[in-house]
Amino acid sequence: MGRRLTGFLWRHPRAQLGLLLSGPVGWLVIAYLGSLAVLFVASLWQLDDFSGEIVHDYGLQNFQELWETPVYRTIVGRTVAIAAAVTVTDAILAFPIAFYMAKVATPRVRALLVVAVLMPLWSSYLVKVYSWRIMLQESGIVNWLLEPFGLHGPGFGNVATWLVFSYLWLPFMVLPIYAGLERIPDSVLDASGDLGGKPWMTFRRVILPLALPAVVAGSIFTFSLTLGDYITPQLVSSTQFIGNVVYANVGIANNLPLAAAFATVPVAIMIVYLLIARRLGAFESL
């Protein structure tokens, strides 16, 4: 039996491939895409006004409601704007250190820097958010440091969420950019210098285009992680993100249909984002 199966597979590479793919594809398609499909179906259901039970009638009422209520648009706009701001901030913060690691530092320093960037990635997300809470509160370190200069910290609000998100996802931006920059041969940079390119010119015309896929790869994470979070906004502000509204509806009100309908918004945004990212070659830099 085993021998016959062996022979069969030997002669049929397609069957090998099928066997190989059945596990992962089965898992992702059935367990994951299947679940997403369930969620989408749920977004077409309704909540019965009287009993508060979910009624399995299909219709677009939830989407209509989301479209017609201005507050939901405000929230989507705010979420996307802060996600974009976080992505840009992280790219700016990540570039110098990534470049330093890839092209300037000695191997020893480089190893140390890699550890210094990686370690926060491994420590608890919640602990990091709470640390910011402690620092940003009225009697926290930030105000204590700023007070002598007559300044006052941002307190808890949109600025705080922007700061904390930028902090949380920064390593996800540093690492791909570092890997991307390291792949650029030194000779290319020297050539640009030899041909008279000023540092800024070299950066803009040579480094940036070559590193772009890596930046986009990093941005997938800074952007999507911000887009879907609801815990950080709740902890460092009273601002509502898409995630907060989804969570409030599914977790508190038991209104799964409306939550599911709203959840399709970030899904659509991310799928478009990923398609663009793939076109820019970001998937090779992950």
Partner: protein, 279 residues
């Protein structure tokens, strides 16, 4: 490579700023772990190690850590198998839809955690009628951990090429021997690095977990609940500091592994794949 002094200085300053930004909050947690008062105001008044013994005596933390370890190991094992299979298929075969696989694999991590969590939750509770247990946590975590293993394995397979494997077969080795002696050794460090990352992702995940855990308490969920109890705050700070310190071990391991001569040149490549932390 030539870099002017001015540029070099700017890079140093930029690096310094980013490093400070990364590390100050971690140092703050470290300081607060020794805070004598339960109050979280700055500057702190006195130092104590009292909270450490309280944290060690706390059975809730120990149980939560154990649950998280089990979930992490289960999810990592599943992700290793599924990720490796997908990577072998994609890098050693040409077939219709090959490009779609990498898209499919990355989807669970790129879509917001709350979507993944809610989708799995409605499938478990509304369609399949399963109780939410450790098993459902593992299923959820494995789904978004596949990408880390997959990315590491694909990168390695792409780099190593097929010539050695072909040579092995030309010399009469069968499939298993070739795999044992050629493919596996070249994949090993990439797989271990991938596994470490997958474990880390699972260990720190909270959003998907919230929707799939039922009454199970993983460490992040324990931390979250206990942060909302003012009396427990100092203990949570201690746990936070310990987590930061313990994270040296996997970071060190991952760093060692990715710097081995047969491996990837860039330690970052593996880490970038981690760009996956699951929130």
């Amino acid at each position: 490579m030539h870099i002017s002094d001015g540029t070099r200085l700017m890079l140093r300053i930029g690096t310094g700023i980013t490093l400070a930004f990364i590390w100050i909050p971690l140092v703050v947690i470290g300081i607060y772990a020794f805070n004598e008062s339960r109050s979280q105001a700055w500057p702190i008044e006195g130092l104590t190690t009292e909270w450490f013994s309280k944290a060690f005596d706390n059975p809730g933390v120990r149980e939560a850590v154990w649950t998280s370890v089990q979930a992490g190991l289960g999810a990592t094992a599943l992700a290793m198998i599924l990720g490796t299979l997908a990577a072998l298929a994609v890098s050693r075969y040409r077939f219709f839809g090959r490009e779609t696989i990498s898209f499919l694999v990355i989807l669970p991590i790129a879509l917001p955690g709350i979507v993944t969590g809610m989708a799995l939750n409605s499938t478990f509770t509304q369609v399949l009628n399963v109780d939410l247990t450790l098993f459902t946590i593992i299923v959820g975590h494995a789904t978004f951990c596949i990408v880390v293993v997959y990315n590491n394995a694909v990168a390695r397979l792409r780099r190593t090429g097929t010539s050695l494997e072909e040579a092995s077969q030309d010399l009469g080795a069968d499939g298993w021997q070739t795999f044992r002696h050629i493919t596996l050794p070249s994949l090993r460090s990439a797989l271990v690095a991938g596994a470490l990352l997958a474990f880390a992702l699972s260990f720190d995940e909270i959003i998907v977990t919230t929707f799939t855990a039922g009454s199970e308490q993983t460490l992040p969920i324990w931390i979250f609940t206990n942060y909302s109890r003012p009396n427990q705050l100092p203990i949570v700070n201690v746990v936070g500091l310990l987590l930061i310190l313990i994270s040296i071990i996997p970071v060190y391991l991952a760093n060692r592994l990715t710097q081995d001569p047969t491996g990837t040149a860039a330690p970052g490549a593996g880490g970038a794949a981690a760009a996956a932390s699951a929130h």
